[in-house]
Symmetry: C2
Subunit: 333 residues, 2 copies
Amino acid sequence: MNKNPNTEKAKMSTDRKQASGKKIVVALGGNAILQSHQSGTYEEQIANVKKAAKEIVKIIRAGYRVAMTHGNGPQIGNLYIQNSLAGEAVPPMPLDACSAQSQGMIGYFIQQEMLNELSKHNIDLPVISLVTQVQVKASDPAFKNPEKPIGPFHNQKEAELLMQKTSLVMKEDSRKRWRRVVPSPEPIHIVEKEVIKSNIEQGYLVVASGGGGIPVIKKKDGLMGVEAVIDKDRSACRMGIEINADILLILTDVDRVALNFNTPKQKWIDRMILKDAKKYLAQGHFKEGSMKPKIQACIDFLENGGEKSIIGTLFSAYSAIQGKSGTTITKEL
Amino acid sequence: MNKNPNTEKAKMSTDRKQASGKKIVVALGGNAILQSHQSGTYEEQIANVKKAAKEIVKIIRAGYRVAMTHGNGPQIGNLYIQNSLAGEAVPPMPLDACSAQSQGMIGYFIQQEMLNELSKHNIDLPVISLVTQVQVKASDPAFKNPEKPIGPFHNQKEAELLMQKTSLVMKEDSRKRWRRVVPSPEPIHIVEKEVIKSNIEQGYLVVASGGGGIPVIKKKDGLMGVEAVIDKDRSACRMGIEINADILLILTDVDRVALNFNTPKQKWIDRMILKDAKKYLAQGHFKEGSMKPKIQACIDFLENGGEKSIIGTLFSAYSAIQGKSGTTITKEL
């Protein structure tokens, strides 16, 4: 690898630009950074981001141009719990402010560990995390029907009490656990689109639209934050389209996409063509709020100029790019 | 004002650059965004940033090129309280992560309200907040002698209990109130210096080094966050020097600098020359951790190529630039 021409190029580049290869948007799942079996300490999250950075630097050394985004599900859940539990002492912040906080924190983790891993390979490439607002429609049906679960689980009693005391909406899941649900509106516009593009054109490694972006609506007197959480895969797809990326790489905590998931007929998929992905989606193979939005994002990306969509795990990102792991979706075989 | 040539220039600029006038670093005090008499709700902080944005847009319309930074004292204090009170449920994050969270949140507030105010004047200027790491020395004496108070006040009993139970250092203030103290090391290097500079060269309105920057030290295997808070005025000065700014404008919650503050001989100062500022500083006219670091930042800025340093209130920033309010410090009269 050390003789890789693109590494050399990056190494010797005086203006510190990325190589001129294919453009990839890498989307790190928030639950890959803070994994469900972990309590979510600082050390755990840094360690996961370190592992991800090793993989992503392999991709950069292979000559790809990388832009990054990330989820924030578990992290914003924790911020929401902290805001609730400390509510007597500190005025709780709404979800747009918490989303901005998570962009700062996760952006910092990624920025630091990417810089550290890059410097191990003598690649002198600036990494930059941008606070990103993403516009949604005030008329989005999601505001009337909140469906995205967030924060801690409650039993029915607790949930009913909370709904009496507050304006929170709680829903019961398939395992009879109650959780707050919030709107997850469609991203229609990345407010900071131009600065994201121009920094990518500068050749920098840009981290943007973290957590799906800070949800804002446009009122007559300007932008205003809203209590919502935007799906990070939808925003990653939008970012990929905006910056004319060739590849959308969604990194999560499952290695591949499966049909008939969790049934005796379960079948892992290595490659899929667009037509089949749409068919399987229609047949309901993919779980709401989990694999379904990922597949939908992959489809939208391919239907809007993308060349390839890939779903894989955080820790095998490079082999996923090579088609050795994960699920690759293309227009044709 | 509508016929201001610079406004017109901004209005008609196709490449969306700021005017080519003097370069100013504007430092918003965290305690001007979350004021001591306020509880610190989302609405209060947004309203304060809105007021600041009105003033800063006046400065931009007058043809100055503005870069911004901000403090985070009260905000990181609140994050620290939330982390402590929710510690049983959510693993508390250390100060570097909280600092990154505050950069995301306050950067978002500034970005949104600056965009809103700019668009009221048909100025199409991108605003961008950058997650910023600031390097400090592991050998900085501040780590042996933490002095920056943070978070809630305690009585002696509580403080002693906390010191027994945890590794926290608590100190008593002049009013017999106990508070956690943390190291406030000297900023030696802005890690994201190059991207800050290049985005300013692009003509964008850049918000960076929020809260003094995320404190990191350099170890053999790379950058690592530390439990510290960097003084935002010192970092603002460093940023001003790095980007060759002409003016450093420190906006806080007092209108002007005073000699013999809070004494019968108190005297407000409108203008000072560098020599006198250094003399008054040496004479101990300026309060530790309050006006002293601001004056020190103003002096350092002028001694490193700056033309003018100004201290004023958030809400009269434009008149301060004009010399109609605040305290202006220059090399010579």
